[in-house]
């Protein structure tokens, strides 16, 4: 029994550095997501005026949470290299706006969903998947954030909801356009999408 306790203690101590390392990505995502939740639950932010403030704060948190350039690169894949530097910048901005327009409304509609952060799964040396689940009264939805370490900061570059990766989903759509069109056509399509909302 004593031996068992001793070896267990040793094991725990051996794992400590690993645990300490492992905690950072999860905490980063958790902190940012929680700050969004706080904004959503703020009773002072009601009505149309409140909604505007909410949106701004959510976007501020999103900028901290996501690496939109990395997200764009991984969405386009090798097609990214066909874009000129100016086109790349424009693409990142348009893509960000599309995501914002689609999801901020959805997020501001959330009220009493409970978000649990469950675990981290290392994907590679500098990439980790932070797993969470959103619990409502009727269902539980797994949401996984894929984060990459850049300049000692952890940033999200993909969100996987129920097994569906955000960047893969867009990649398939963009590839359809880039298959027989130049990058300018894709940018044009995105500009129209952003403009017409």
């Amino acid at each position: 029994m004593k031996k068992w306790v001793a070896s267990a203690t040793l094991l725990i101590f051996l794992m400590l550095p690993f645990l300490a390392f492992a905690g950072v990505p999860l905490d980063t995502v958790k902190t940012n997501v929680n700050s969004v939740l706080e904004v959503l639950r703020d009773p002072k932010l009601k009505g149309e005026a409140g909604k505007k403030v909410k949106e701004q704060r959510i976007m501020a948190a999103a900028e901290k949470l996501f690496d939109f350039v990395e997200l764009s690169k991984r969405t386009l894949g090798l097609n990214w290299n066909k874009f000129t530097p100016e086109q790349r910048r424009e693409f990142v901005e348009l893509y960000k706006t599309i995501l914002k327009d689609a999801y901020v409304d959805k997020i501001t509609a959330y009220t009493n969903e409970q978000v649990n952060f469950t675990k981290e799964v290392p994907l590679s040396e500098n990439m980790v998947e932070v797993q969470s689940s959103v619990v409502t009264k009727s269902a539980e939805t797994p949401i996984y954030y894929r984060v990459i370490k850049k300049d000692s900061e952890w940033k999200v570059f993909d969100v996987v909801i129920e097994g569906v990766s955000l960047i893969s989903n867009y990649r398939t759509q963009f590839r359809e356009i880039l298959g027989n069109n130049p990058p300018a056509t894709l940018l044009d399509t995105l500009r129209k999408k952003v403009g017409k909302r």
Binding site: L78, P85, V92, L99, A102, S124, S138, V164, Y170, Q173
Partner: protein
């Protein structure tokens, strides 16, 4: 069948059920359950995109390609490397009948906005949330045979056992499946399993993409699976015929009840998408692939 038949059965089973339940709880705590996951079947019908060797499939999640550290950190808009570009490459599905599928997609789109959504909204307005949750749990509970049989067919008897335990607990303590006591109280969760998935595990490819009117995205394999599962759904036996007005009515109620919790989800997908048809197809492929890998 006499009306009190099932009730009497339930009363007589409750003690036996509790014993079974205890045995399973013991086996769970002894760690018998996580003896799975090794057999990860790849889906031959879903072809992996370029640059992602198929042999690596089982390690898919973890091998998201080690990204080379960027030499020039300041140049964040620089070129992507081959490795970054092809990491986490998604899957695609053949779509030889795209014109038909697109037509059906548009039909389903109208069906949603003109009929399903208003119905679900009215239903949501009239029926209190508590009751809708009860219905949702009830339908989930009675579909146990589908998950039980398919977990067995997929060589996951531990999960089949869990489904059985869940059914016993929820049908008794949870009052005919009105509450998910097994999850809320005992933290016993089940595993989604359907016949399309079973066929996939047996190495049958999904074939190609097909959109059915009303039923939505599918493939020949998953369509066969859907019909197969129909035989295991208790709701199919409300009448002597497999497809009856009563059965369809129950199916419709189940769906309306489900959508009453999901109004706006499809709208978000559509709003976020550049081409909603492709977005939907890709989501379907990714979702099914994930279920197969579990």
């Amino acid at each position: 069948m006499s009306r009190q038949g099932p009730t009497r059965y339930r009363e007589s089973i409750s003690f036996a059920g509790l014993t079974v339940c205890l045995v399973f709880l013991l086996s769970l705590s002894l760690g018998l359950s996580p003896a799975h996951g090794a057999a990860t079947a790849t889906d031959p019908g879903i072809t992996t995109g370029e640059g992602f060797p198929k042999a690596e499939k089982p390690a898919d999640e973890t091998s998201l390609a080690p990204v080379t550290v960027q030499e020039k950190p300041s140049d964040e808009y620089g070129d992507v490397t081959e490795e970054t570009a092809t990491s986490g490459e998604g899957s695609t599905i053949a779509d030889p009948i795209e014109p038909w599928n697109r037509a059906m997609y548009h039909f389903n789109d109208k069906f949603y906005f003109w009929l399903l959504k208003p119905t679900a909204q009215g239903y949501k307005y009239v029926i209190p949330e508590t009751f809708r949750i009860i219905f949702s749990n009830f339908y989930e509970n009675i579909m146990m045979p589908v998950r039980f049989v398919n977990n067995l067919l997929q060589g996951k008897p531990d999960y089949a056992g869990r489904e059985l335990v869940r059914f016993v607990i929820n049908s008794t303590v949870g009052v005919a499946g009105f509450r998910d006591v097994a999850k809320d109280g005992f933290e016993i969760t089940g595993r989604k399993a359907d016949f399309g998935q079973t066929l996939g595990k047996y190495g049958i490819g999904s074939g190609f993409y097909i959109v059915w009117p009303i039923l939505g995205p599918s493939s020949p394999r998953d369509s066969v699976g859907w019909v197969g599962d129909l035989f295991l759904k208790p709701t199919s036996y409300v009448s002597s015929e497999l497809i009856s007005p009563e059965g369809v009515g129950l199916y419709a109620h189940e769906k309306v009840n489900y959508f009453s919790f999901h109004i706006g989800d499809y709208e978000t997908l559509k709003k976020a998408a550049i081409d909603p048809y492709i977005a939907m197809r890709d989501a379907y492929v990714q979702y099914r692939k994930k279920l197969l890998e579990q």
